[in-house]
């Protein structure tokens, strides 16, 4: 049985923890609104960009000569995985969920005897992944000191991906990030960006445009494809930022509630043992008086 003093100390410490988690929740809620807004505003751009690429893919008649960024190298041996995570912790399962998904994929890739390279964005993901897959990590990015995500950051990552592609370092590139659905639900996602995923192509959308290109098709693709890579990375970063704040908010909300429960429980314990000691003293006095 802990002494009264011990209980008092514990209650105090739990209460101050509660204050911290509460404050973090508030901060996350404020940041969430902004991040969510920019994620939602950023969606049209990346979607439309993806659409153009898909339409272009459809109109390509000669897959042999098409740019490799669009159709892939035709091989399936080397993989580049880009894992996008947060730079800060204390946001529930956010980072772990992405890493878990990524690791399942790594395992699959390795068990099929394929080559694996990893780029991590965000220090938390890097920490989790290097433990098991440290030797595959070839580059890490961290935007810790940046307050807002700007397109140039994504472009940096995009350029790195493209330069690796041009050096023939990989055949397929997959990015991992959390898709922001709403405040409580974030879905970890794996998206293949090289070669461009043509999954949505088959579903509906049968319009087949024969586009007029100006200048030539090759030139446009040459300009557009790298931009698309950066755009997809940017979208992933925005979704991630919103998910991170949402996830942190729920996590901190839970933590605050748990701390409250704990304080209640400890207070009851405290009162009980205080009452017990008073009763004990009374009994001692009474029995002392009786014996006289």
């Amino acid at each position: 049985m802990p002494s009264l003093d011990d209980l008092k100390k514990r209650i105090k410490s739990v209460k101050s923890t509660q204050k911290i988690t509460k404050a973090m929740k508030m901060v996350a809620a404020a940041k969430l609104r902004k991040a969510q807004e920019s994620a939602e505003k950023g969606r049209p751009y990346s979607q439309k960009m993806q659409n153009i690429i898909l339409n272009l893919t459809k109109s390509i008649n000669d897959p042999q000569n098409a740019p490799k960024l669009l159709v892939g190298t035709g091989e399936d041996k080397k993989y580049l995985c880009v894992v996008l995570t947060a730079d800060r912790g204390l946001c529930g399962g956010f980072n772990s969920n992405i890493c878990k998904l990524a690791k399942t994929n790594f395992k699959k890739i390795l068990s099929e005897g394929k080559e694996l390279n990893i780029i991590t964005v965000g220090s938390k993901g890097h920490d989790q992944i290097k433990r098991e897959y440290g030797k595959y990590v070839i580059k890490k990015f961290s935007f810790k000191d940046k307050k807002n995500i700007i397109f140039n950051d994504a472009d940096e990552v995009g350029k790195e991906i493209i330069s690796l592609f041009n050096q023939d370092k990989f055949d397929k590139c997959i990015i991992f990030y959390n898709n922001f659905k709403n405040v409580i639900t974030q879905i970890p996602q794996a998206q293949q960006i090289i070669p461009a995923e043509t999954k949505n192509l088959e579903e509906g959308n049968d319009q087949n445009f024969s586009y007029e290109f100006e200048p030539e098709e090759d030139e446009i693709l040459e300009d557009l494809l790298p931009k698309n890579i950066s755009t997809q990375v940017f979208k992933a970063l925005l979704e991630n930022a919103a998910s991170e704040q949402g996830s942190r908010m729920t996590a901190m909300d839970n933590a605050t509630r748990n701390a409250g429960d704990l304080v209640d429980k400890l207070t009851i314990d405290y009162n009980r043992s205080r009452q017990a000691s008073i009763t004990k003293e009374l009994i001692e006095i009474i029995s002392g008086a009786e014996s006289l």
């Binding site: 920019s38 505003k41 950023g42 049209p44 751009y45 990346s46 439309k48 960009m49 153009i52 339409n55 272009l56 397109f151 319009q207 445009f209 024969s210 586009y211 007029e212 290109f213 100006e214 200048p215 446009i220 300009d223 557009l224 931009k227 755009t231 940017f234």
Partner: protein
């Protein structure tokens, strides 16, 4: 039949404008290009210049680069640099102008020089 079509200008972080219009003039890579209703599907990219949207009034946007797609009477302009001319103040223009001048001298390839020179020209035009 209506002779209007939709034009959307979208940047990575927001939708800058979405409206009905009669005619849009874009600074396509190989020259100015006017787009009307029922244009054939088109993909092109932009050089620095001014996008003019003609509806009730005229709206002008300064762009440095971008991708344009036209299909089923929907003109889509994807750009990360669009600026509404009405909101662009003098000092900002001058700042960009100086930047462009320095830039033009440091470019090495023909294509880069081509783009840089158009940027300079457009900015000069605006500042007048």
């Amino acid at each position: 039949m209506s002779d209007k079509f939709t034009v959307e200008i979208i940047s990575p972080d927001q939708t800058i404008s979405k409206q009905e219009t009669n005619e849009v003039i874009i600074p396509s890579f190989e020259g100015q290009m006017g787009i009307l209703n029922d244009h054939i599907p088109l993909i092109t990219f932009l050089r620095p210049g001014i996008i003019t949207i003609k509806a009730e009034g005229e709206k002008k946007y300064y762009v440095e680069e971008g991708t344009v797609e036209f299909s089923s009477n929907n003109l889509l302009i994807l750009t990360s640099t669009a600026r509404d001319l009405a909101n662009l103040d003098k000092s900002k223009i001058n700042e960009l102008l100086q930047e462009a001048e320095v830039n033009l001298k440091t470019q090495s390839t023909d294509k880069e020089r081509y783009i840089a020179s158009y940027k300079l020209e457009t900015l000069k035009e605006i500042s007048q």
